[in-house]
Amino acid sequence: MAKLKELTKKQDVLSPGHRLCAGCGASIAVRQVLSACDDPVVVASATGCLEVATTIYPYTSWRSSFIHNAFENAAATISGVEAMYQSLKKQGKIDKEIKFISFGGDGGTYDIGLQSLSGALERGHDFVYVCYDNEAYMNTGIQRSSATPRGAWTTTTPCGEVIPGKTQYQKDLTGIIAAHKIPYVAQASLWRWNDLIDKAHKAFYTKGPAFLNVLSPCPRGWRFPSEDTIKMAKLSVQTNFWPLYEVENGKWKLNYKPKERLPVTEWMGPQGRYKHLLTPENKSLVEEIQQEIDDNWERLLALCGEK
């Protein structure tokens, strides 16, 4: 397990002074993940909040080599970087140990970048892909993605007279990635920072592709005060909305089990994007969402051999 005291001595790869919002989950995710790497890294990023806020020309917040190509191709791009590294290593032109990592938001990962990611995972490149999932297209101003949960308000799933926010459940991306049978897949939370850093360390030091899905609360998009980011991350885990688990060489393992599962309304309550749901007329919808969370949890327990 990572020791906080030691971690504080490490220089951040993502330096302060970037222009992400106060309370942004993405920058916390990036710093926690990169603190787990003991070797130099080359970072790739999909177009999105992280990229636009950290590389405004002529400035950069990246102390490592960094490449942004386009929105849907962060995985293909890093696969090219990694392939060149393998080629030059094979030819004896480079001997340093270097790690390769790609970051993408949920738009760049669940949606437009899924094909590129699936291809790179199947080809078996030695890299880590991290999705910082803030559950909507936040960079363009809060539009729904396939990671947006059911019932949530976004600007393209507004709450109207007849439709109460997003009508579909979010895609099970972590499950889809696990189905690629890559060596390491995990779901993590900013709140359980030591679990997240351990997972990131495993991801970096597993040969072949590894994937981390990190829920990254977004104060602007979810409508909560910016000092409550970690509280939101905590509620997502304690309500079983965002369970923490890992799939290592095909073996599923649950990493955290709340003593008492909190009701989903505890997770929804502090978030403005769910405000419309907590009314008497939407009670049955909330019950359906609760049922879905409970069913998913039961399935996960079975996969992890917990029952």
Partner: protein
């Protein structure tokens, strides 16, 4: 220096050029009529004849994306595609060029969908003409082979440092068996030289950021520099052609003139149709007619002054386009040349002939007919129809 003469398809010749260049990374996706280039190269990889890391991507979009990553990492990178594959790469073509990454990509010309068609025309690469890539068109398998080898040097030249597309006609050249003189491996190896990295991502001691957000305060300056860089490639292309002549005995320039100097009428056409036109020129010259041909080789950067100058003494010219610019004033080649001729005051009479879309054949009679029409224009001093479509049922 030794050469080997073989009978081989255009794709076979291109794959052999890949093998001799021995790039560090190739990322490619199969598409007709490019497919057997990638197949043949995969065999070279499987047989251990190259040190290339071959990335068999899941789409052309990822092919170009991986090429950008690999080239930025710092090494020699190649790919190849056709038509819809090029269209799928479109977004990343611009990023490759603006990031100044020396990627070399043969494009086997094929009609763009829709409707879907697998045969030759130039709609694919003409659509990509403003992406910032150097574009070189080849007449036959020999030229495809020679141009691919030269393209590596052009792309990687420190004064240029831009991606290069090398075109040859789908099926007509890609699948037709042609006589090709191959250079030996050492000659090619020495000619392309050692790759010189320029700000590689893998130099972790000097970290840098590729692909930043570039707003109204800098973007325009960067685009202006890019415009300058591609124009500066012209002398480099000629210098490299000179070096190539020394190792091969074969002559290359910005364009090829065929019986043009004393001609009264001429055809301007790219790629394989220029070969057919040469046969017709020979035949008509035998009958005492003063006909000629100009075959552009470099389409980007467009050598407008040189081409306009070379055509300025003619009485009438027909510019042939194997693509349509829908709603435009003629095809892309016509627009460029007609505009360039403004530099010389008195321009020859000119017509634009759009031909060969979707692989429709153009034969010697068709080309003879064009020269006959040019004679009539010279005689009457009048152009009846400026933009024409050849060999189509209307």
């Amino acid at each position: 220096m030794s050469t080997k003469t073989v009978a081989i398809t255009g794709n076979g010749a291109a794959a052999y050029a890949f093998k001799q260049i021995n790039p560090d990374v190739v990322a490619a996706y199969p598409i007709t009529p490019q497919t057997d280039l990638v197949q043949s190269f995969s065999q070279y990889v499987a047989d251990g004849l190259v040190h290339t890391e071959l990335i068999t991507v899941e789409s052309e979009h990822s092919a170009m994306s991986a090429c950008v990553g690999a080239a930025a990492a710092g090494g020699r990178v190649m790919t190849a595609t056709s038509a819809n594959g090029l269209a799928l790469m479109f977004e990343i073509l611009y990023i490759a060029a603006s990031s100044k990454l020396p990627i070399v990509m043969p494009v086997v010309n094929r009609a763009l969908s829709g409707p879907i068609n697998i045969h030759c025309d130039h709609s694919d690469t003409m659509a990509a003409r403003d992406a910032g890539w150097i574009q070189i068109y080849s007449e036959n398998a020999q030229e495809a082979y020679d141009n691919i080898i030269q393209a590596v040097r052009i792309a990687e030249n420190m004064k240029v440092r831009l991606p290069v597309m090398v075109m040859y006609d789908g099926f007509i050249i890609s699948h037709g068996i042609d006589r090709v003189d191959f250079l030996d491996d050492t000659t090619v190896h020495d000619f392309v030289g050692k790759y010189q990295p320029n700000y590689p991502l893998l130099d972790i001691d000097k970290p840098l950021t590729f692909g930043p957000l570039d707003l109204y305060d800098y973007y325009f300056e960067h685009k202006r520099q890019q415009a300058e860089d591609i124009n500066n490639s012209k002398p480099v292309i000629l210098e490299i052609a000179k070096g190539f002549r020394e190792i091969s005995g074969r002559e290359y320039g910005l364009f090829e003139s065929y019986h043009l100097e004393d001609a009264e009428t001429a055809i301007v056409v790219l790629s394989s149709a220029a070969g057919t036109t040469k046969t017709v020129v020979d035949e008509l010259r035998g009958k005492g007619r003063k006909v000629g041909l100009l075959k552009p080789r470099i389409f980007r950067p467009f050598p407008y002054m040189e081409i306009a100058q070379a055509l300025s003494h003619l009485k009438a010219i027909a510019i042939l386009d194997r693509s349509v610019s829908f709603g435009g004033f003629g095809g892309p080649l016509f627009t460029e040349i007609r505009s360039a001729m403004m530099e010389f005051g008195k321009a020859p009479q000119n017509i634009n002939i759009i031909f060969g879309l979707g692989g429709r054949d153009i034969n010697q009679q068709d080309i003879t007919g064009i020269y006959d029409q040019l004679d009539e224009i010279v005689k009457s001093g009048k152009v009846k129809e400026r933009i024409q479509y050849l060999g189509v049922r209307e």
